[in-house]
C-alpha cells in the first residue's frame, strides 16, 4: 500500500529491527505466537488467533486488532506487528510507536475474510471492556449493552465482577438485566426484574410489559406467575418514578418560564404601581434587550472569536443600559406628559411600540435572527435517568433570582429605593418632603426598562429573536401584573412563578394553547375575588 520506501534503506534498517525484536518485551513475547498464527493462510487459524487475542486482555492486543480491522496491520515473519499508514511515512511499530524498518517484501498482510471480520468485532469489544482507560471502557460497555446477545452474558458478568466505575456498571447491569429476562433460570429473571426496577430504565420497561402481556393464545410470554407479578410491580414503580421525574422537569421548565415572565413583568409592575400608567411598549424592551445580545454576539464573534463563550458577560449590562436609555428617552419625551391619563398613555405607548418594532425591522431586517448559546450553556445536567436539566434553563432561573434580589436591594436598601417607595405610596406627600418626583419617575422607568432588557437577553437564549418578540410576551406580563398586584416585588414573583409553573403543569393534560386559555379564564375569574391582585396594598395606598 504505502511501501514506497527506498529498498536500500529498508535493508539497512532490517538488521536493527531484527535486533530490536529480540529484546525481551514481556507482553510482546506472550503475543508473538498468536501473531505468527495471525499470519497464517488458514482461515480458521486466523479466527482462532483473533479470539485468543481477544481473551488475552492485553492493551497491545487491542491496537493489533484495531489495525487488523482497519487493514493497516503488517506482520514480520518473526511475529512482530507493524502498522502501515497511507501517508507514506515509515512503518511504525505497534505499541512503541517507533518508526520501524522492515523488508517490505517479507511483510505479511494478514488475511481478513468476512469470517475473520465477524470475529474481530466482539474481540475488540472484549478488549475494550478491560482497557485501563475508563472512557474506552464506558464506550465499549454502552456499545455492548446496545447489541449484546445471550452469548455475551458470561463476558459481561466477568467484567462486571472487576469493574468499579459506577457509570460503566450501570450500563453493563442494564444490558445484563435485559438478557437475563429471557434466561431459563427463574432466579436470574427475578433478579433482573429487581435490577430494572432499581434503575428505573424506561427503555427496559417495554421488555417488562412484553413479559406480562398475554399472547394471542392466552399464554404468557413469562410462564412463572411470581415473575410476572414482580414484573408488574416493577412496571408500576418505573411509571411512578417517571411521573416524579416529569414533575421535577416541569417544575424547572415552569420556573424558567416564570423567570422570563418575572423579568418582563417586574418593571411593568413597578412603573404601573408608581406612575399609574401601563407601558405597552414594555415588551419591546425585551426585544431590544434580545437584539442587544445579538449585536454583541456578532461583535464578539468577529472581533474576539476566542472569547465567544463569554459574550453574555458584556451582553447583560449592555442590554440593561440600552433599554434603560431608551426608557429614559421615552419617559422624558412622551410619557411624562401623560401621567394621570392612564388610558391615553396606553394608546401612546402602543404607538411607541409600533415605531420601535418598525425601526428594528429596518435596521436588523424582518427575519428572525439566531443568538447562539455559549458552549457552557448548551447541553444539560443528567440528574436522573430520563431527567436532563438544560443548563440554559437553570441559568435563566438563577439570573431571574439574582436580578430580583438586586432590585429588591435597590428598593429596600438605597435612598433611591426609599424615594421610589415614597412616591409610589403617596406622590404629593413625597413631593412636599422634597423628593424630586419627576426625577424619581424617570429613574424608575429606566430601571423597569433595563430589567426587561436583561429579560430579553434571557429570552435570546431560549429561541429565535425577531422584531415581534415582545408582542408575544406583553399579554402574559400584563397577566402577571394583574395576578400579582402592582407596585410590589413579592406579588410579581408569586404571579410570574404561579403562571409559569401552572402553565407547564397544565400542558401535558391539554395542549399548550388550551392551557393558556384556561389560565386567562382563571385570571378573569380570579380578579373577581381579588381585584387588586394577590398582594393588594393595604390602607391609603390602596385607594389610589
Amino acid at each position: 500500500m504505502s511501501s514506497r520506501m527506498n529498498p536500500v534503506a529498508a535493508r539497512l534498517f532490517a538488521a536493527v529491527v531484527c535486533l530490536l525484536s529480540l529484546l525481551p518485551g514481556a507482553e510482546a513475547a506472550d503475543l508473538r505466537p498468536l501473531l505468527k498464527q495471525l499470519a497464517s493462510d488458514e482461515r480458521s487459524a486466523v479466527v482462532e488467533a483473533v479470539e485468543a487475542l481477544g481473551n488475552s486482555g492485553d492493551p497491545l492486543a487491542l491496537s493489533i486488532l484495531e489495525a487488523l480491522q482497519g487493514g493497516t496491520l503488517r506482520l514480520t515473519p518473526a511475529g512482530r506487528a507493524l502498522i502501515a499508514s497511507d501517508t507514506g511515512s515509515p512503518l511504525q511499530e505497534l505499541g512503541s510507536g517507533k518508526a520501524a524498518a522492515a523488508d517490505p517484501t517479507a511483510l505479511v498482510t494478514p488475511l481478513v475474510s468476512n469470517q475473520v471480520r465477524r470475529a474481530i468485532e466482539p474481540a475488540i469489544a472484549q478488549l475494550q471492556l478491560v482497557s485501563p482507560d475508563g472512557a474506552t471502557r464506558l464506550k465499549a460497555a454502552r456499545e455492548l449493552a446496545r447489541r449484546a446477545g445471550p452469548e455475551d452474558a458470561a463476558l459481561m458478568r466477568a467484567v462486571l465482577a472487576r469493574e468499579t466505575e459506577p457509570e460503566i456498571r450501570l450500563a453493563l447491569e442494564s444490558a445484563l438485566a435485559r438478557l437475563d429476562l429471557t434466561n431459563p433460570d427463574r432466579d436470574l429473571r427475578l433478579q433482573a426484574i429487581r435490577r430494572i426496577q432499581a434503575q428505573g430504565d424506561i427503555q427496559l420497561k417495554s421488555e417488562l410489559v412484553r413479559l406480562t402481556a398475554a399472547k394471542e393464545d392466552g399464554a404468557f410470554a413469562e410462564p412463572d406467575a411470581e415473575v410476572r407479578a414482580a414484573a408488574a410491580a416493577a412496571i408500576h414503580a418505573i411509571d411512578r418514578r417517571q411521573t416524579l421525574v416529569g414533575l421535577v422537569a416541569n417544575l424547572l421548565y415552569g420556573l424558567s418560564l416564570g423567570s422570563v415572565l418575572l423579568l418582563a413583568a417586574l418593571g411593568l409592575a413597578i412603573t404601573f404601581g408608581q406612575m399609574g400608567i401601563i407601558n405597552m411598549a414594555h415588551g419591546e424592551m425585551l426585544m431590544l434587550g434580545a437584539y442587544t445580545a445579538y449585536a454583541i454576539q456578532n461583535f464578539v464573534r468577529s472581533a474576539l472569536p476566542g472569547l465567544f463563550d463569554y459574550y453574555l458577560v458584556p451582553a447583560l449590562p449592555a442590554a440593561f443600559l440600552v433599554c434603560a436609555l431608551v426608557g429614559i428617552a421615552l419617559e422624558r419625551s412622551i410619557l411624562r406628559f401623560l401621567y394621570g391619563r392612564p388610558l391615553e398613555s396606553l394608546l401612546a405607548t402602543w404607538g411607541i411600540s409600533l415605531v420601535i418594532i418598525q425601526v428594528v425591522r429596518l435596521v436588523f431586517g424582518a427575519q428572525n435572527v439566531t443568538v447562539a448559546n455559549p458552549s457552557w450553556l448548551s447541553g444539560g445536567y443528567a440528574a436522573a435517568p430520563g431527567l436532563v436539566l438544560p443548563y440554559s434553563r437553570v441559568a435563566i432561573v438563577l439570573l431571574g433570582a439574582i436580578v430580583v434580589a438586586l432590585v429588591w436591594l435597590l428598593l429596600q436598601r438605597t435612598s433611591l429605593g426609599l424615594q421610589i417607595r415614597a412616591v409610589t405610596q403617596n406622590r404629593p406627600m413625597a413631593a412636599s418632603m422634597g423628593v424630586r418626583t419627576a426625577w424619581v419617575d424617570t429613574l424608575t422607568f429606566a430601571l423597569g426598562s433595563g430589567v426587561a432588557g436583561i429579560g430579553g437577553v434571557a429570552l435570546s437564549q431560549l429561541g429565535n429573536v425577531g422584531p415581534e418578540l415582545g408582542q408575544s410576551y406583553i399579554v402574559d406580563s400584563f397577566m402577571v401584573v394583574v395576578l400579582g398586584g402592582v407596585g410590589n416585588i413579592g406579588g410579581a414573583i408569586a404571579g410570574a412563578m404561579g403562571l409559569g409553573i401552572v402553565a407547564k403543569y397544565l400542558e401535558p393534560f391539554t395542549d399548550a394553547v388550551l392551557a393558556k386559555i384556561f389560565l386567562l379564564l382563571f385570571i378573569i375569574l380570579f380578579i373577581q375575588k381579588r381585584p387588586q391582585g394577590l398582594f393588594a396594598l393595604k390602607g391609603r395606598a390602596a385607594e389610589g
Binding site: F337, P342, L347, L354, V355, F478, V481, V482
Partner: protein
C-alpha cells in the same frame, strides 16, 4: 307614539338632520349611481374597487360607533372589541361556508377544512348555520352573549381603567389562540374563505357587491341614529355621569352595573353586526382579526376623530383606514411609523381629536368675529352642551 317620534326628531337640530340626510343620500344614492351610470373609465365614474372598499369602511364605521359608545360615553376603554367583530364575522362566515354546498375542492358536503381534518360529520355548533336567519341571529347573539357574561363579571367586581383594558386584551388574545387551533373547528389558521354565494347571489358579481355596500351603509346610518338616541337620552346622561364620577352615581342611588352592562353589550352587538357585514365583502375571516393589535387600532379611530362625539369616531375610522389603504400600497414601510405617530401625536396633542380641533378653531373664529381681539379663554360657559366633555383626570385615573 308621538312622544317617541319627537324624541327621535330631537336627536339633531334642523341643520343636523339636513346634514345627516344629505350625507346619507350621497352615500346611498349618489355614489352607487356614479359607479353604475357613467361609462367605465369616464371622468365621473367611481371605480368598481371602491365600492367594496367603502362598504368595508362602513363596517369599520359601525365598530367606531360601538367603541365610542363605550369609551367616549362610559369611559371604558376596551382593547378587545375585535373579538365581537370577529365572532359576528365567523357566524356569517359559517353560513357562507355552508352555502358553498358541494362545490368545494373536495366536492364534499362538509367544508373543505373538515375534510382535510378527516372529520366525518358536522360538529354540533355548526348545526343550523345552513339557514341565513339563524346565522344572522347568531352573528348578533354570540358577541352580545359573550359581552354580557364577560361584562357582568368584570363590572360587578368594579374592574376599571387600565385593568379592564388589559383584561379585554387578554380576552381577545385567548380567543385568537382558541380559533388558531385546527381542532376548534373554525378552519384554524386559514379561517373561513373561498365563499361562493350569499342567499343565492354570487359574491363575485358586482351587483351583489353594490347591494352589500348599500346594506352596510344603511346599517351604519341606523347604528348612528341608535347610538345618538342612547347618548342623548336620560340613560346617556347617566352613562356620562358614570364616566366622570362613578362613586357619586352610586351614592345617588344608582347601580352603575346595569347601565355599563347595557352600553357594553349594545356596543358588542354593533360590532357583531359590523363583522357579519364585513365578511361577505372581504371574502375571508380568520383569527388574525382577533389580534390584540386590531382591537387597539379600533381605539385609535375613535381617538383620532374625537371621543364622545359619535361623528368624530366615524370620521376617524374613515380617515385612518383610508390612509392605511393608501400607505400600505404606496409606501408600506412608512405605514407603521405613521400609525405609531398617530397614536402618540393624537394622545399628546389632540386629546379631543380632530373634532375637538375643529371645535376649538370654530370657537376662536366666532369669538374673534363677535368682539375683535385675541380670545383668552376658548372654552367658556356659552359653549354648546353637545360638545365633548373631556375625560376628567379623576374619572380616568382610577
Amino acid at each position: 307614539m308621538h312622544g317617541r317620534l319627537e324624541s327621535i326628531a330631537s336627536l339633531h337640530t334642523r341643520r343636523g338632520w339636513l346634514a345627516f340626510l344629505a350625507i346619507t343620500l350621497t352615500v346611498m344614492v349618489g355614489l352607487p349611481l356614479l359607479n353604475l351610470l357613467p361609462p367605465a373609465g369616464g371622468r365621473l365614474h367611481l371605480p368598481d374597487f371602491l365600492i367594496p372598499l367603502l362598504g368595508k369602511f362602513f363596517c369599520y364605521g359601525i365598530v367606531a360607533l360601538a367603541m365610542d359608545l363605550i369609551w367616549g360615553y362610559v369611559g371604558v376603554l376596551s382593547l378587545g372589541h375585535g373579538v365581537f367583530f370577529a365572532l359576528g364575522g365567523y357566524a356569517m362566515g359559517m353560513h357562507l361556508m355552508r352555502s358553498i354546498g358541494t362545490e368545494g375542492v373536495y366536492r364534499s358536503k362538509l367544508p373543505d377544512f373538515m375534510v382535510f381534518l378527516d372529520w366525518k360529520e358536522l360538529p354540533w355548533y355548526w348545526q343550523g348555520f345552513d339557514h341565513f336567519w339563524f346565522a344572522a341571529l347568531m352573528a348578533l347573539l354570540v358577541p352580545t352573549g359573550l359581552a354580557y357574561v364577560f361584562g357582568f363579571f368584570a363590572f360587578r367586581s368594579r374592574i376599571r381603567g387600565v385593568y379592564f383594558s388589559i383584561i379585554t386584551q387578554a380576552l381577545t388574545f385567548a380567543m385568537m389562540l382558541l380559533f388558531f387551533r385546527n381542532n376548534t373547528g373554525f378552519g384554524g389558521n386559514n379561517g373561513l374563505t373561498d365563499f361562493k354565494r350569499l342567499l343565492g347571489f354570487s359574491l363575485h358579481a358586482h351587483s351583489t357587491k353594490v347591494s352589500l355596500y348599500l346594506v352596510s351603509g344603511a346599517a351604519l346610518a341606523l347604528s348612528y341614529l341608535a347610538c345618538r338616541f342612547v347618548v342623548s337620552s336620560k340613560l346617556g346622561r347617566l352613562l356620562a355621569a358614570i364616566r366622570d364620577a362613578e362613586s357619586r352615581i352610586m351614592f345617588s342611588g344608582y347601580n352603575p352595573l346595569d347601565y355599563k352592562l347595557f352600553a357594553w353589550t349594545l356596543s358588542a352587538l354593533l360590532c357583531g353586526l359590523a363583522g357579519a357585514l364585513y365578511v361577505p365583502q372581504v371574502g375571508i375571516i380568520n383569527p388574525g382579526e382577533m389580534q390584540p393589535s386590531n382591537s387597539i387600532e379600533m381605539a385609535i379611530w375613535v381617538a383620532v376623530g374625537g371621543r364622545g362625539t359619535l361623528v368624530g369616531p366615524l370620521l376617524g375610522a374613515l380617515l385612518v383606514n383610508g390612509a392605511k389603504s393608501v400607505f400600505t400600497v404606496v409606501y408600506p414601510e412608512a405605514w407603521l411609523f405613521l400609525l405609531g405617530g398617530l397614536f402618540i401625536g393624537v394622545t399628546l396633542f389632540l386629546p379631543r381629536g380632530l373634532l375637538g380641533l375643529f371645535d376649538s378653531a370654530g370657537q376662536v373664529w366666532r369669538r374673534a368675529r363677535k368682539r375683535p381681539g385675541p380670545a383668552h379663554n376658548p372654552r367658556s360657559d356659552d359653549e354648546p352642551a353637545a360638545t365633548l366633555t373631556p375625560m376628567t383626570p379623576d374619572g380616568a385615573a382610577e
